[in-house]
């Protein structure tokens, strides 16, 4: 080893290390995320996959009539984004929400880097909020790309004819576009809820695979539960139910009850999961990773 460099670490020009702000830690986390091939891959999939799905479904002679808006996909390009939203809510959105969020804490355990981070002047709280904000920002970006790609592809590949509402009324093209954007926007709250759930599982399991897969499995379980009759009260509190709250926007007389309930349920899941995750991280003894 060559030891000829003359500058020594404690010479008089010692820098005064200040405690980094949470924004600094957020920037650090975002830089790490940007360096990950997986995060770029998720964004690319969110951009390209909808185009492929729209092309395939549009080419099918038999539309998926048993799915909401399935029978209308050949008559209006605005039906396709609603069909896609309903389909994506079953597992695609929970999966997209979990790919980064389920890994973001656990990969520090996997790489053993908790000690590397926490032996600098950065608190666990700062790391927690930086990772949480990064995961939420990323997932909302993915949702936006997914929605924009779906809506654009549908309009370009199919058409922009007026849309038939859920109660049979005709919705003009311009209004339909606004309502579709609003419908996709209703997915923001449950996506944040699934992000929080994935973050909790990432902290608790310390295993990236579990952190990613478990929210998807839980999403499926919730879907199954919601299909069981006689448990309407429980169904209201499931995190998958808010994904259906847009239905009221497409009826003759719009109703917003499910939207407000969905927002409250999503907020409840988010607060509960983030609180549990925060406490778990704060109290953890960092002995391994």
């Amino acid at each position: 080893m060559t030891l000829t460099t003359t500058r020594t670490p404690s010479t008089p020009d010692v820098r005064v290390m200040r405690r980094p702000s949470t924004v600094t830690v957020l920037r650090w986390e975002l830089a790490k995320l940007a360096a990950q091939a997986r995060s770029r891959a998720v964004l690319i999939v969110a951009l390209i996959a909808p185009v492929a799905v729209v092309l395939v479904l549009n080419g099918q002679e038999q539309p998926p009539s048993d799915t909401i808006y399935g029978r209308h996909i050949h008559t209006s390009g605005y039906a396709m984004p609603l069909l896609m939203l309903a389909f994506a809510a079953q597992w695609v959105l929970p999966l997209l929400a979990a790919v980064v969020a389920g890994d973001i804490f656990a990969n520090e355990d996997q790489h053993g880097t908790w000690k590397t981070i926490l032996t600098r002047s950065v608190s666990r709280g700062q790391v927690f909020w930086a990772k949480t904000l990064t995961a939420i920002l990323f997932n909302l970006s993915v949702l936006a790309v997914f929605a924009a790609s779906t809506i654009t592809a549908s309009a370009l590949i199919i058409d922009t004819q007026p849309l038939t509402g859920l109660t049979g009324q005709l919705i003009a093209s311009g209004t339909a576009l606004k309502l579709i954007i609003a419908a996709w926007a209703t997915a923001i709250a449950p996506v944040i809820g699934f992000t929080a759930l994935a973050l909790l599982l990432s902290v608790k399991t310390r295993n990236p695979s579990l952190g990613i897969a478990a929210p998807v499995v839980l999403g499926f379980v919730m879907q199954l539960l919601s299909s069981i009759s006689g448990i309407d009260l429980l169904r209201r509190f499931l995190l998958t139910t808010p994904f259906e709250s847009w239905h009221g926007l497409f009826t003759q007389h719009r109703f917003y009850g499910p939207l407000t309930t969905g927002l409250a349920v999503s907020a409840g899941w988010t607060v509960l999961c983030l609180t549990l995750a925060y406490l778990a991280l704060r109290r953890r003894d960092i002995t391994g990773g």
Binding site: M1, T2, L3, T5, R7, T8, P9, S10, T11, V14, R15, M17, R18, R19, P20, T24, V25, R27, W28, A31, K32, A35, Q36, A37, H111, G112, T113, W114, K115, T116, I117, L118, T119, R120, S121, V122, S123, D285, I286, T287, G289
Partner: protein
């Protein structure tokens, strides 16, 4: 030397269930010192360092780092402190330089020239663009030192920096640590290697099964070390043992032959005696150094064994 101690740990205790990993230890390190925490695996060294970095909380006792406490100052306790616990870990998919850049970002960033500087100090300049996943263990250890130096610390904490390195890596790492120590940094070095601590440190705390069994200077410890022992094999070990005992040498039987302990001139005379007696000498080699022998005595001793009495000046605390 500043009045504020670099490390002032008093009666620290940490338990994991029934295991008392650290039992009321007191360690005080003055600024500018090069201090060793020595002990076999499981002695509690890393647990102590984890408490110092706030990775785990002590059950009882007080701990000040450069005058700050975790209780009162929180994360500000790590102002001026850098180092690594166990082997330093990085993101394997990123280059060494990118890893350092990211870590520096947590401290507000550093100029590119400073990155070049620390990479040169640890001799990783030529490999800085390679992914850390392809680094050898020694290179990752050196990158860990570089990451610590980026913080321009007043207290550098290194946990077993030579652990797992090949002989050349050990030599290089020791040279690096010595050089850093000579620059005026306070260095707290944990090791299970007496030779390493002896070469680098001024003062030492020796731990065993969670307790301190010695603290004091290396010089004082050296004075209390036993004489150098030699492993000796001959064509007649029984007769050799008699001759050695007649010269006042301490003789014990080993698997290979005999271990004799005593002044060097008496060992030399014993060899002459053997030749005069017609006994062929098949092997003569030094065993562990006196300090190593003392270390083994201390750390293999139970609280009731008399080896602890060797250390009346450096009393356990």
């Amino acid at each position: 030397m500043s009045e504020v101690l670099a490390v002032d740990a008093v009666d620290l205790t940490k338990t994991y269930g029934p295991l008392r990993a650290v039992d009321r230890i007191t360690v005080q390190v003055a600024q500018g010192e090069v201090y060793g925490i020595l002990g076999p695996n499981g002695a509690g060294k890393t647990t102590f360092l984890r408490m110092l970095f706030g990775l785990i909380r002590p059950d009882s006792g007080t701990l000040k780092v450069l005058g700050r406490t975790w209780h009162d100052d929180g994360i500000a306790t790590l102002q001026g402190v850098a180092g690594f616990i166990e082997s330093p870990k990085f993101y394997p998919g990123l280059s060494g330089r990118r890893n350092l850049q990211l870590l520096a970002g947590l401290d507000g960033g550093v100029p590119s020239a400073r990155l070049d500087n620390v990479l040169d100090v640890v001799d990783l300049g030529a490999r800085q663009s390679d992914k850390v996943g392809g680094y050898s263990f020694g290179m990752r250890q050196r990158l860990g030192v570089a990451a610590a130096l980026l913080r321009d610390p007043r207290l550098l904490v290194l946990d077993e920096p030579a652990n797992g390195l090949d002989p050349a890596g050990i030599r290089d790492m020791r040279a690096l640590v010595k050089r850093l120590a000579n620059s005026g940094l306070t260095v707290l070095l944990s090791s299970h290697d007496m030779g390493e601590v002896e070469q680098i440190c001024d003062d030492v705390t020796i731990m065993n099964t969670g307790s301190v069994v010695y603290h004091g200077s290396i010089t004082a410890l050296r004075k209390r070390a036993p004489q150098q022992a030699h492993e000796i094999t001959t064509t007649n070990d029984d007769r050799t043992a008699v001759l050695a005992a007649s010269r006042g040498l301490e003789v014990t039987r080993t698997d290979a032959g005999l271990a004799v302990r005593g002044p060097q001139d008496e060992i030399d005379s014993l060899v002459a005696d053997l030749v005069a007696d017609g006994i062929a000498l098949r092997g003569l080699s030094r065993r562990e150094t006196p300090l190593e022998a003392l270390f083994f005595m201390l750390t293999e001793a139970t609280p009731d064994t008399p080896t602890r009495d060797l250390l009346t000046a450096g009393a356990p605390r």
